[in-house]
Structures are given as structure tokens and as C-alpha cells.
């Protein structure tokens, strides 16, 4: 049985962690590498770096962050944000990333998913989907550009297509749940998870330890991702895992 995974996400801009992080005993709380190592020690199963740099220099810095991280941590990590060419993927994988997350670029250019999967293997291609409920449709719509642009694409259709194109995993963020701390979007996650045969990472809405149990049990997610609640120490990864273990869910 595969263990359910708990994944902290770090937003990185120009080589620095930007969302507030509240770790004690860090020499440099803005250093993504040191934070990554801390999460590794605390029992994170994987990490996601989201590069929100807007400049070429910022992206170049990310390569250095990836290299240093690969030398420091002992768990797999995904890098996403601004990847629009197979060459970008290659550079990041060479630098030591295990998986590449693509979002907007995958919608704009679907062959990016298939080319990446063919060249590097499906296991390292993570398609990130930002979805929001569209009341007119009665189902979820895909948004791009960090949630700013609607696409007219149905999230369930895109999820299935991404799998066919060769995605090895989906990182599914509910824009409705994100930031609420009321729990993951169970309906969205279940709908996507039940329509694809690849793992689904649920993201957005985690506010209490039991939210992870809910999304694993009720929505069949394979992993749960969160950012601020871990950064601000509102809960630790061990607390989440203890709760899951008590409830009979396999965790590492």
C-alpha cells in the first residue's frame, strides 16, 4: 500500500521564499534550501517549489536553488512556475529536480506535456490545474496565469486530457477553497480523482489536521499540499501524520 503524502509548498521569488515563514532556529528564514531541509527533517514526503520570479535573472537563480536543494534534501521535489519549453524542464531536471510542474503553459501548448513525458518519463511531469466552480455549468472551470484568467475549459475534461497526454500526476488547486482554511474541496477533488488513473495532489483550503484525513478518505486524493499553515506553524507535518495514523491511514 502506498502511503498518503503530505507536501509543503514554497513560493520562491528571485531565489527567496516570499510567503511569510515562521520557523525558529533558522539562520535565514528566507532561504528556500534551508526551509526545504527543515521540512525534510520534519517528515515532509515531498516538496513543491513554485517559482514566481518574473525575470530571466530570477529564473536563473532558481536553477541554483534547485542545485543546492538537491544536495541538501533526501526527499523528492517538484519545481513549477514559468516553465514553457522542454529545455526549461531539462535544465531543472539536470539541476536535480525530480518533477516539473506545468500549468498555464500546458494549456497553451499541450505538446509540452506529451514531449516532456516522452523525453523524461511521465513520472516527472506534473500538470497543475487551478479550478473554480462555474455555477452556470454546474462544474469546474480551469483558470490560468495564477488564477487570473478563465479559460472556458472544463477541469474534468482537462484532467483526463492531461493524463492522456502523458502527465504522471495532477496538482489540483481549488480556487474556491484556497485561503479559506475550511478544508480541501472534497467535491472537486473526488470528481477529478475518480476520472483519472494517475495520482492527484489536493491543494487549497487546509486549515486543520483533520482536513487531510477528509480529502484522503472522502475524495481519494493521493497527497495533500499546503503552504501557509505549515509555514506559520499552525500545524506540523507530524501532527497531520499522527492524526492520519490514528485513523488508520498509511503514512510514512
Amino acid at each position: 500500500m502506498l502511503a498518503k503524502r503530505i507536501i509543503p509548498c514554497l513560493d520562491v521569488k528571485d531565489g527567496r521564499v516570499v510567503k511569510g515563514v515562521n520557523f525558529v532556529n533558522l539562520r535565514d528564514a528566507g532561504d528556500p534550501v534551508e526551509l526545504a531541509a527543515t521540512y525534510d527533517r520534519e517528515g515532509a514526503d515531498e516538496l513543491v517549489f513554485l517559482d514566481i520570479s518574473a525575470s530571466v535573472e530570477g529564473r536563473a537563480t532558481m536553477i541554483e536553488v534547485v542545485k543546492r536543494t538537491a544536495g541538501e534534501i533526501t526527499i523528492p521535489f517538484t519545481v513549477g512556475g514559468g516553465i514553457s519549453h522542454v529545455d526549461d524542464m531539462k535544465r531543472l531536471l539536470r539541476a536535480g529536480a525530480d518533477k516539473i510542474g506545468i500549468n498555464t503553459a500546458a494549456i497553451r501548448n499541450k505538446s509540452l506535456v506529451s514531449d516532456g513525458a516522452r523525453r523524461f518519463g511521465s513520472q516527472c511531469i506534473v500538470v497543475a490545474i487551478d479550478a473554480k466552480f462555474n455555477p452556470e455549468w454546474g462544474e469546474w472551470e480551469v483558470y490560468t496565469h495564477g488564477g487570473r484568467q478563465s479559460t472556458g475549459i472544463r477541469a474534468l475534461e482537462w484532467a483526463k486530457e492531461a493524463e492522456k497526454l502523458g502527465a504522471g500526476e495532477l496538482l489540483l488547486t481549488s480556487m474556491d477553497a484556497d485561503g479559506t482554511k475550511d478544508g480541501f474541496d472534497i467535491k472537486l477533488t473526488a470528481a477529478v480523482s475518480n476520472s483519472v488513473g494517475i495520482p492527484v495532489i489536493a491543494s487549497g483550503g487546509a486549515g486543520r489536521v483533520e482536513h487531510f484525513h477528509e480529502v484522503f478518505q472522502q475524495a481519494n486524493a493521493d497527497a495533500g499540499l499546503a503552504a501557509t499553515i505549515f509555514h506559520y506553524k499552525e500545524m506540523t507535518i507530524q501532527e497531520v501524520k499522527d492524526d492520519l495514523r490514528r485513523k488508520g491511514v498509511e503514512v510514512r
Partner: protein, 211 residues
């Protein structure tokens, strides 16, 4: 010194850093002489079996790996590198492996998610293996769509469960393989890698014990 055999497949950086963190000198190399002079060798790999064997034979590194194994010094295959130790694979056609361990690499088949990706628990079958010294069973990180069927049970050191038993660690004498990524498997992964590396410092006793 530990030689990490570079035959153009996969990310060698993480493996090499992990070896260094454990206190050993690591050299990523395709040079036969450097490999043969090393105290231990690691055969990593991500990708397709056929491509990997092709790259190995184009560079002559298949013979180097076999020669290294025959020398009695410890060699470890990781992920695809473990699969390459076996006699053959059916990944996109029929391919011969290094044939250091008898067995066949086949695709997972069934109504479940493939690849087998994520953290899964090891069951140690041969608790007295030097790889397990001081360790308890725990989770390690797997990513693979093909898995090895050993011919001899005695070569199977640990399994995991993914819709049936799956070969996780193999070993015979000085030849070892891990299907998961020890360098990506937290403390337990590092400890298993550390136990392998420790064999490179006691190779003479090992050689004698397994001869």
C-alpha cells in the same frame, strides 16, 4: 572512492551528493579505469531499459560493470540500474541485461495506478543482510512501471507490497540493487545507502564471506 557510473541516463547529482553526505568521496565518471579502481560502484538510472543497455554497450561500460562485479567489490544498482543487473527485460521489446542476477524485468499489469509512485513500506526478507544492519522496516520512495522477478529467492532481500509483492532490494555477494531511490527516501534511504557504502570499507571480509 565511490564511482557513480555515468552512461548518460538520469540524474546523477542527487546520488553523488547523497554519497558525499554519508562521508564518502564520490566521482561521477564514464572512465573505465576510474571505475575499476574505485572501492565501490553505483549504477544509477532513470529511463528505458533498452536505451540504457544500448548506452552501456556503446561505451563499453556494460563490460566494465561486469568486470567490477567480478572483482568482488561492492556494486549497487539503483532503480533502472537495479533492473539492468538482471538477465532480461520486456520493456518495449526484448532486451538482454547485464545478467549478474538471474531474473526478468516485466511491466506491472492490472487495474491499478502505474507507475508505482510514492512511499511504500519495505519488508526485510533476509534480516541478516549487511544492508539492514541496525535498521527497522519503513517507507522508501519508489517510481517505476517495470519490476524485477527474481529467479532465485535467495537473491531477494526485501519486497514491498503494491497489488502483490514487488522486488525492492536484491543482493548476491557483492552485487546489490534497490528498486526505490535511496537518495530520495529520507533517513531510511540514507541509512540503507550508508550500509552499502560501509561494505566498500570492509570489502576484503565481504569478498571472503561471499566467495
Amino acid at each position: 572512492m565511490i564511482a557513480i557510473i555515468d552512461y548518460g541516463m538520469g540524474n546523477l547529482h542527487s546520488v553523488s551528493k547523497a554519497v558525499e553526505r554519508l562521508g564518502y568521496e564520490a566521482v561521477v565518471t564514464a572512465d573505465p579505469q576510474t571505475i575499476l579502481e574505485a572501492d565501490g560502484a553505483i549504477l544509477p538510472g532513470v529511463g528505458a531499459f533498452g536505451d540504457a543497455m544500448q548506452n552501456l554497450s556503446n561505451t563499453g561500460l556494460d563490460e566494465v560493470a561486469k568486470f567490477f562485479a567480478a572483482s568482488g567489490k561492492p556494486i549497487l544498482g539503483i532503480c533502472l540500474g537495479m533492473q539492468l543487473l538482471f538477465s532480461e527485460s520486456t520493456e518495449y521489446g526484448q532486451h538482454e541485461g547485464l545478467n549478474l542476477l538471474p531474473g526478468k524485468v516485466i511491466r506491472f499489469s492490472g487495474d491499478f495506478k502505474i507507475p508505482h509512485m510514492g512511499w511504500n513500506k519495505l519488508s526485510f526478507l533476509q534480516a541478516d543482510s549487511p544492508l539492514f544492519a541496525g535498521l527497522d522496516e519503513g517507507h522508501v520512495y519508489f517510481v517505476h512501471s517495470f519490476h524485477a522477478k527474481v529467479e532465485l529467492e535467495s537473491d531477494l532481500l526485501a519486497v514491498t507490497d503494491y497489488h502483490g509483492p514487488v522486488t525492492a532490494i536484491v543482493g548476491r555477494g557483492n552485487v546489490f540493487g534497490m528498486q526505490f531511490h535511496p537518495e530520495k527516501s529520507g533517513e531510511l534511504g540514507m541509512a540503507l545507502l550508508g550500509n552499502f557504502l560501509a561494505l566498500t570499507r570492509s570489502e576484503k571480509t565481504q569478498g571472503a564471506a561471499t566467495a
